[in-house]
Every structure is written in C-alpha cells, then in structure tokens.
C-alpha cells in the first residue's frame, strides 16, 4: 500500500493574506487522510514549459473534510501560476511527501520564520505539550492570530513594527523563554542560530530544510544535504531532503 498519491485536487478557497503570500485550501481524495505535520506536497504547473513540480509545505490538514491548507509565497513563475488560479479550478498534486516532525511530549519551542511559518501551524495544533510559539517576520504579519489557540505566541519583526525588534532568538531572550525541544522552519540563518542555541543548551532541535527538487520522491538525488551519518540510500553522507527529510535533528546535518 503506497503512502503517497498523485491526485487532481480542487481549489476550495484562495486568498492573499499578506503581500505575495497566498492561503489556499484544496480538496484531495486521499492525500489529506495520509498527511502528517511537517510533510509537504508537490504542485504541478499546467503551463507545459514548467516541468518541475513545486514543493509546498502543508499548513493545515483536515482529514475529515479531506482537505489541505497550503500557504505559500510567490517565488517565481510556478507559484505565480498557482496564485492566479481560481476557486473550483483543479491542479495535480503529489503527496504527502517527506517525514514530518517527530512529536515529543517535552515542553516545546515552535519557531517559524517568514514563509517557514505555515507548517508550524499544523504542528502546533497536534503537539501535545506546553508550547511557546515564536514567529519571526520581516514586517507584515500573517497567520499569527491562528496560533493563539495552541500556545503562547511571541512575535519578532525585523523592522520592530510588532513584538520584539529583531529575530526569533531576540524574542526568546527578551521574554526569557525556555523549552526542552525546538521545532523550527524558516530561513537558513535562523535555523543555523537555533542549531547553535540548541547545542549550547543541550536540547533537541528539529529543523525543516528546503532545497531545489526535481522528483520529490527520492529518485533524482537533487535535494540532498550533508549528514553526519552515512545515508542508507547511496552509502555516502548525503540525506535526501524530500525523503529522509525535510525534518532533521539539527546536529545531524550540515546546513
């Protein structure tokens, strides 16, 4: 029995929630029922000049209604195409892909930066522990209110327009926050800082990485990252972000 499917999904709702950031609910037959927090899906363009599917993290899963929420930023022509699609239109998707976040019962930092915030919403919903949610933005806020039902939310903005002026770690320091496990998705400098913080405090840190991908299922070896341990697949130290990832224990991989 396969744990992933390629399906034709229908767009249920779509709106722009911040400049260039789109919020879309899609109906899927099987993928929503199989998906876990921290996994992603591949979206295929209908324009034939764009061959490669776009990996998009899953923001929310509604397995009862068989739907998925995807929140993405326009990063190029492919995501622009999705952003211009209308409710009721169909698109091909593949998923769920990747491993998703492990879920521990220790107190948790749930940390998202920029377009790394969306996958942290489903995780916040599912984690069964004390959660301190730290969200970092450049300036415009999005999704922040929806996190409030799942834990204490702390905001950092680069321009200081809301919450702590600075980055997510500045917010952690300012409020004197502590937790036993970090879950994070966001830009590499943020993830690197959290990796160092976790090492210093001797706590676990699970980061979700991204890389340019082609197949999304572990065949093309496009999206590897250097790992401490030998990967089982090709016997070198290259883990596939689409397959063994996208979530890794931060100390286990180089990024």
């Amino acid at each position: 029995m396969s744990d992933k499917k390629r399906e034709r999904a229908v767009i249920l709702q779509k709106k722009e929630i911040a400049d260039g950031i789109f919020d879309m609910w899609i109906a899927t037959e099987e993928i929503a029922g199989m998906a876990k927090a921290g996994q992603f899906v591949m979206l295929y363009c209908s324009d034939g000049s764009r061959l490669l599917p776009r990996p998009i993290s899953i923001c929310e899963i509604n397995s009862k209604e068989k739907s998925l929420r995807l929140v993405y930023r326009i990063a190029g022509k492919g995501t622009k195409e999705f952003s211009e699609m209308k409710e009721g239109m169909e698109l091909d998707i593949l998923g769920p892909l990747g491993n998703g976040f492990p879920q521990k019962e220790t107190s948790a930092f749930v940390i998202g930066g920029g377009i790394g915030i969306p996958p942290m919403l489903e995780l916040s919903k599912q984690l069964n522990c004390k959660k301190q949610i730290v969200l970092g933005f450049r300036d415009q806020l999005f999704l922040e209110k929806e996190f409030e039902s799942y834990g204490d939310v702390y905001i950092a903005t680069e321009d200081g327009s809301a919450g702590t002026k600075g980055n997510v770690l500045d917010a952690v320091m300012e409020h004197g926050l502590q937790a036993d496990t970090i879950y994070a998705c966001g830009p590499l400098p943020m993830l690197r800082a959290l990796k160092a913080y976790a090492k210093e405090h001797d706590i676990e840190c699970f980061v979700s990485l991204e890389e340019r991908m082609a197949c999304g299922i572990g065949a093309c070896l496009g999206c590897v990252c250097k790992s401490k341990e030998t990967d089982g697949h090709t016997n070198v130290k290259n883990k596939r972000i689409c397959k063994e990832g996208p979530v890794f224990e931060a100390q286990e991989v180089d990024f």
């Binding site: 593949l94 299922i217 065949a219 016997n235």
Partner: protein, 299 residues
C-alpha cells in the same frame, strides 16, 4: 499487434524504458508505475565505489526543460548488487545497468562485477557532463570512445550499450567509433551542457555552474542526432532526449530508434512511461500497424 522490439538479442516487451538518473532503480517510482509494464528499467549510473556527487543546488528549471548537475551520486556496485538488482528482479521487465567511472579500470571493474548478475544489458555512460573525471571526457574523442568500448567489451558478458554525448561537433563520428570498438547498441542523447544565472542574486543557479539540459527543449536536437546516427551506423539505437508523450516516442522511432528512454518527463508525471506505452498502442491501432518495428527508421 506486436509491441516487442529486440536489442542485441534481448527482447523487450515494448520499446519504452526509463532514462538513467531519472528513475533511481525503480523503487521510488513503483508507487506510481507498474514496472512490469515497462520494456526495461535503466538504472541510475553506478560506479565501483560510492560517489558523493556535487554540491547543491543540483537542479534548476529552465524554459521547457531543466538543468541538473547531480554529479553521479551513487551507492557503488556492492550495495547496488545486494539491493537494487534483487529489487528489480521481482518484476517482469528487462534490467539495464548504467555504468559510470573515473577511469577505464573503474568501468571495467563494474562491468566485471555485473557479469554473473541477472542483468540484461549494460549501458556505459561516457557522456555525463557533470563530473570532472571520467564521464564525458571519454565521449568527446573518437579514439577514446573506440578504446573504452573495446576495453569494456573484454569484460562484459552482457551486450554493451554505449551512451553518447550530444556535446560534440559530429555525433556520428562517436557512433562509428563505438561501433568499431565493438558496441552492441548505442543510446543517445545524454544532456546538453547548459548554464543558468540567477539575475537577482547574480549567482549561478547550480553549484556546479554548468549542468546538463534535458526535457522537451532538447527533443528536436535528439531526433536530429538519432536520425543522423541511424544513417551512419548499423547498430540499434535507443533514442532519448525530451520524450514526454507517445508522439515524441513515435517520432524518435521514425527517426531510427529501436527503443526509447523517457527521462525528465518522469518528474512532471511519475506515471508518464505507462501513459506513453498506452499512447503508442493506440497509434498503432489507429494506423492499422501490426508490428511496432515497422516504425523504426520509417521516416
């Protein structure tokens, strides 16, 4: 209606196979494709020892195609023989192992290791544009093409396919050299060397700077080269380069290919190989063609 074709004495149930490097050893795609339906699975290149491959980013999309510079990351022949061949053996399809190396000795070592394995054909990759040693270095000079073909043939128990590069002035010179060296089959084309620059970051899109261009963008070049090669040598040809539909596959056969490989299209639709086979069957029915072999070189 006959869909089967023959390559150096090996009968394929249909002419559609996967292109090396786009399909792993089939395991990842087996969720989407019934491997029993394929003429053959061509594995990702395997060397004598594990290779780490290049730095990332390794892939980039371009208009109508993509660039890749994976750098032949592979598990080495030991793990491959233990894991990948038994996996493929479960299916009723032919197994073609793509072999890569940094030296003639590397290629010969892998070929020799495979001699007693249940592998149907060997494809020798002398055309990878993304590695510093080996790969394309063997495939751009007729003398070295002939020489490495001869060497590999000394160790090979299975028929040998030489995979040719389009990054040459005249591919027919390489094809003739491979034929002179004793090749049983030719496959072409590998990717074309390309480059993409991110204008916002003013950086190369790929860590390797250059990468191999594949996808529909290169299909007409591949058709032309298969046609020219078919005119120049007697060997059967496996045609590849941007095949994404049954029409593309039929076009390639009309140009002179006995079989076809589907590569980049697997990324756009993981079930595309089965759809291409079905589409080719419909074409034969519509055209009242009894035997698919009638298409080979029939332009």
């Amino acid at each position: 209606m006959n869909m089967s074709v023959e390559l150096a004495g090996v009968t394929l149930k249909n002419p559609v196979m996967t292109a090396s490097g786009t399909f792993g050893s089939g395991e990842e795609f087996s969720d989407f494709v019934d491997l029993n339906q394929l003429g053959a699975v061509v594995t990702k290149g395997v060397a004598n020892i594990p290779w780490e491959g290049n730095q990332t980013p390794r892939v980039a999309e371009v208009y109508g195609g993509m660039l890749n510079a994976i750098g032949l990351q592979n598990p080495g022949i030991d793990l491959f023989v233990k894991r990948d061949i038994p996996f493929l053996k479960q299916y009723d399809t032919k197994i073609i192992v793509n072999v890569c190396g940094k030296s003639t000795a590397d290629y010969c070592e892998v070929v020799e290791r495979l001699s007693d394995e249940p592998v149907d054909l060997l494809e020798i990759n002398i055309s990878c544009p993304n590695v510093k040693e080996g790969g394309i270095a063997f495939g751009q000079d007729p003398k070295s093409v002939e020489q490495i073909t001869k060497e590999v043939k000394k160790y090979a128990k299975q028929p040998v396919i030489m995979k040719l590069s389009p990054n040459v002035t005249d591919i027919t010179e390489m094809a003739k050299a491979a034929e002179a060296g004793g090749a049983d089959v030719l496959s072409l084309i590998n990717t074309l060397t390309g480059m993409k620059i991110d204008i916002h970051k003013r950086k190369f899109a790929l860590a390797n700077k250059t990468g191999g261009l594949s996808g529909p963008a290169i299909h007409p070049i591949a058709v032309r080269m298969v046609y020219q090669t078919a005119q120049a040598v007697k060997l059967p040809i496996i045609g590849m380069g941007g095949i994404a539909t049954a029409e593309d596959a039929i076009e390639m056969m009309l140009a002179g290919a006995t079989a076809v490989s589907v590569g980049t299209a697997n990324f756009h639709n993981p079930a595309v190989t089965e759809e291409i086979i079905a589409g080719m069957e419909s074409y034969l029915r519509e055209q009242n063609i009894e035997d698919i072999r009638e298409l080979i070189g029939a332009v």
